[in-house]
């Protein structure tokens, strides 16, 4: 990566607006005095005409929302689909993974917790497996071991499903986590190759990322064999492997402060390792960055399969492989759009499907689950975040804002 870094000291970077609830970890390194004339570095990337904007990230809800206050009845899915509240009372619930016993493990960000949900059939109960971590949003299961990725820590709980008090093995050192926090809360997953895929987001809104950021790596489960398999990824918070081709598909959040409608978030396909996906020079479907200029900015960039809307906050993705939904949903990609903050009118706050050929061509987006956002008032209830397909073919969808999980089922 070029040494032309716009930002200097470590923690001095970030969004061009206030952050909701991300607690930082270690104290920053040597302070840098901002020159009197230049704008502060944290608002880098904001144009002059947005100087009076008061757009700010949507605050999460850190206390439990009672089931009675979750407006499931307002949610709409296509004909034949039913949406019900499956679990609640877990503020900050994000990515979900399911063990062989049926227990579901769920990561969070600011609250620092990992939840374990038990399904008794009639109801779901939850407990906190671990807390006080720095944004432990990454969870993965392999051979009965739960892997928890916080920003600055990796813990492995062996045999967690049968041994609830399993003490974690601290794996932090082997994964070589870099120090910056921004965009480094994780989504992680084991691939079909048995390797653990871990992204490292750009530690800023827009900047030349240092060599260990804006990339996707994979490791063996023990942390060995680290490889950087893709670069130019600003902030991916969801990926999945195509059921037929085995290729990795991932979402990527576009930068802020280039206006309401550009650049859009991305849905990308990774047919092989070693590709460059554009950041910081080229965004979305081929939009050169306005601040970090490069001649022929989009040359050599692997462009997205589909742009996913402006500031949509694309999160989890899931290829449906069950038999409950109609056949037309087989191998179709579901994408959760948590919803925008850097836009004067809200966008997203829904779940869509993206139908494409296996090589990503002929992409068509269609709404799947809506009703979270009332566009006439700009009020929203929840923010859909991640998916988990159950053995019966129903689909769980987490709602980070309401700390709830919905179950979508289908019956003729």
């Amino acid at each position: 990566m070029s040494a032309n870094w716009i930002w200097a000291a470590p923690a001095l970077l970030l969004l061009a607006a206030c952050q909701s609830m991300a607690p930082p970890a270690a104290a920053p390194a040597a302070p840098v005095a901002a020159p009197a004339a230049a704008p502060p570095i944290w608002q880098q990337g904001r144009s002059a005409d947005q100087a009076s904007s008061t757009l700010a990230p949507v605050p999460g809800r850190m206390i439990a929302t009672a089931a009675s206050e979750i407006p499931v009845a307002s949610l709409k899915a296509p004909a034949g689909f039913k949406v019900e509240l499956w679990a609640s009372g877990m503020p900050g619930a994000r990515a979900m993974v399911r063990g062989d016993s049926g227990k579901v493990y769920i990561g969070t960000r600011a609250l620092g917790r990992v939840y374990e949900v038990t399904d008794s059939g009639a109801a779901r109960t939850s407990r906190v497996v671990v807390d006080k971590l720095t944004q432990p949003s990454g969870v993965a299961l392999r051979n009965g071991s739960l892997y928890v990725f916080a920003i600055d820590k990796v813990l492995r709980f062996d045999g967690i499903e049968s041994n609830p008090t399993a003490q974690p093995v601290d794996m932090t050192a082997v994964f070589k986590l870099p120090p910056e926090q921004h965009h480094n809360w994780k989504y992680v997953a084991f691939g079909p190759d048995g390797k653990l895929y871990v992204p490292f987001g750009a530690p800023c809104n827009i900047c030349e990322p240092p060599p260990e950021y804006a990339q996707l790596r994979r490791y063996n489960a023990d942390g060995s064999g680290m490889e950087v398999i893709a670069r130019g990824i600003r902030n991916t918070q969801g990926f999945a492997w195509h059921p037929v081709t085995g290729e990795l598909w991932f979402t990527d959040h576009g930068r802020d402060w280039m206006g309401d409608d550009t650049p859009e978030d991305e849905l990308n396909r990774m047919p092989r390792a070693g590709l460059f996906f554009g950041y910081p020079y080229c965004h979305a479907g081929g939009v050169p960055d306005q601040d970090i200029k490069k001649a022929n900015a989009c040359d050599g960039v692997t462009l997205p399969v589909q742009t996913m809307g402006p500031h949509a906050a694309v999160m989890g993705v899931h290829f449906y492989t069950g038999n409950m939904f109609p056949a037309e949903y087989k191998n179709v990609l579901f994408v959760a759009r948590k919803g925008s903050w850097n836009r004067t009118k809200k966008f997203g706050y829904d779940v869509v499907t993206v139908r494409t050929d296996a090589d990503g061509k002929n992409a068509r987006i269609a709404p799947f689950l809506t009703g979270f956002l009332d566009s006439s008032t700009e009020a929203f209830s929840g923010r859909p975040t991640y998916f988990l397909q159950l053995p019966d073919g129903s689909l769980l969808i987490s709602d980070e804002q309401l700390g709830a999980i919905y179950r979508v089922s289908y019956a003729r």
Binding site: V32, P40, Q43, I63, A66
Partner: protein, 177 residues
Amino acid sequence: MCAGAASAAPSAERLAVCAGCHGANGQSAVAGTPSLAGQPRVFIENQLVIIREGLRDVPVMKPFVAGLSDEDIGALAAHYAALPPKVPAAAPQPDKAKAGAALAQRLLCPTCHLPTYAGQQQVPRLAGQDETYLVAAMKQFRDHPGPGRDTIMAATLRGLNDDELAQLAHHLAHARP
């Protein structure tokens, strides 16, 4: 449509405990202790949660938050958010306040805290806040931003010297709500 907390009001006993430091009606009379009145509900909620969870370390608060349930926190936040904010009594020193105002504009404080410094959602009200507390809080952000302290705040205050923090605090403490 946002799931609103239909929480019961906090008990008089609990509020009396809070008032011991934070003042009657959430208006602090103790230098170094923040006023709570008129703080955005989400801000109070979030701070009480992260203090309770130990993510934000405030030793003096520990015994008071230890047993608070999520419902208790929701009720306390709603209660204090609805109270009228403290109006600054004295007039500011003009030069100091002017310097602070210039700094605040340069650092774009009004973006998140709003031009009135009333705050919004998870961003606190600064207008009329206790000046000593503001200085201490800003120093924490600048020098020891630990878990529970916003990363944007740490970045914004980096590199400011103590005089500049004092000017900012003076300007904000005297901003009329």
